[in-house]
Amino acid sequence: MIEAKNIDFYYGDFHALKNISMKMEAHTVTAFIGPSGCGKSTFLRLFNRMNDLIDATRLTGECRIDGADIYHKSVDVDELRKKVGMVFQKPNPFPKSVFENVAYGLRVGGMTDKNRIRQRVEAALTGAALWDEVKDKLKKSAFELSGGQQQRLCIARALAISPAILLMDEPASALDPVSTSKIEDLIHVLKKEYTLVIVTHNMQQAARVSDKTGFFMLGELVEFSDTKKMFLNPEKEETQNYLTGRFG
């Protein structure tokens, strides 16, 4: 279970997230929607502490995963990131072979047993619905795959280290419709084993894949409820306006 309490976040002087609280249950898909620059990606990146990489940022509030404060001093960030996987907006495979891309997380985690690595890679690629397409080109460069395959490779790469949570930052925004629907199918399957949080600018996508949806605007969480409810009967007027395309 992921829990955020009274989160405020600043880039320098810019107040990017304003007093946000939210709970996400295990084995659910939560979608964040909102106009660009609303803070949804920033919020997502709090949970694997990717925002740490940016200079001059400041965070107040509490961020807990399974009850443990992930910003506590004793937390090992690398270990946290192994538990909280992430898939980025653009497919970003390493300039290595398909196999080595998936094995990367295992290797940096200290796994050396070749057989185990092979098993885990196969399992991860299967889990990402990619195994059948790439089993004959594991040694080929990852760049030879199509954009959609590359993105599923990045998902497989994240799955290989068995995270509990998978964060997806607009995972289909750079892909064509066919690849997008494959990724969405995959999200439905992954839900059984992982807790997913997905940022998307595509409202239909949020409606299709998620159980709960949070609507962000100008750094605030305007509304957070069951997806069905939000799309059929939003509480706030801003949400209504956004969903009906009056701005954004």
Binding site: N48, M50, L53, D55, D78, E79, L80, R81, K82, G85, M86, F88, K90, N92, P93, F94, P95, K96, Y104, G105, R107, V108, G109, F143, C154, R157, A158, I161
Partner: protein, 398 residues
Amino acid sequence: MKPDLLRCKRKGFRLFAEALFTLSGTVTTVVILLIILFLFKEGAGLFRSNEVEKGYSLCVHASSPVERLSPAQIKQIFDYETEWIPFRLEDLFDRYSEEELGKDYALLPGKLGEEITKEPKLVAFVPTQYVPTGLPTVRVLPGSRIGWLRFFGGKEWMPTATPAPLFGVLPLLLGTLWVSLFAILIALPLGLGATVYLSELAGEKMRRLLKPAIELLAGIPSVVYGFFGLVVLVPFLQRTGGLPVGETALAGSLILAIMALPTIITVAEDAMRNTPKALREASLALGATRWQTIYRVVFPASVSGISAAIVLGIGRAVGETMAVLMVTGNAAVMPSSLLEPVRTIPATIAAELGEAPAGGAHYQALFMLGCILFLITLLISTAAEIISGKSFYNKKGI
């Protein structure tokens, strides 16, 4: 009519200006071609020169078995290292007075003939105009041209030796490579370490201060580095190493390493920072530590840029003249140790061209050295270009 004339004038000016631009566009190409032309033209003359000094001949007794002498053999003879007796014009002046040699040395060839006839083991080195003619006892040795093999394979560089200078390029070539090689070996860990520090570890403020500072240091004149080496490094090496002289290959390598550092750091740092942010994030998001990310992702991704930096550093070291000239001691011997003096090709050119008479064999030999240096650096800069063009990301357009 008038506007037409004006238009004509304008058009003429435009064509003239554009022709000028086009011509200027080729200027670098022309300069390079001219450099090649002049270097090779002057240098190639070397292989048309005689091995024996211009205007001089070697004479022996007619019965002498000597057929042809190589420069090295001539040197041995005139160093009294053989059974043959060397004989120079000065020896003749020692034996005969001015009167005996006659007005304008008219009698000199005759006296020389007498000496050669008297002593069958004599090898005389005299101006060609004084060679005795018509004497059956005197034979003039045929002169041979300086050969490619002797130039490129020769192990001795004694360009001012008489009667026959030795132009063996090997000690200089190896000296150049020797000094540069160790310079790079020293500069590499320092430079790459500093690069990683600058691009990955130093904070943004520190980086903004240090990067321009290091770039600035690339602009310090080489003669200043040489001066520093001479007054600080050389005495230091001599004292700590207990060496007879501090001017050694090591001093050269150290100074070159320091001089190559800014080049290596600037180029390699650019390469490392150009690693796409997405790759770093992907690695960190998979739980890799910063160090794992650096050596598993950033290094491999920027390897072509880093190699180009190293190659450029080598190029800078190979061509460097003044600093090396000032601190390496300039002994033209085959390099065998870091703690002995060596001499590099650029230093040789700088040190000797001033004393080599234009058009002489020595002058031509120095231009030939220039050709060799030119080819080496051309090879290096082409290599750098190919390597840096090979970047993975350039090709894939990422």
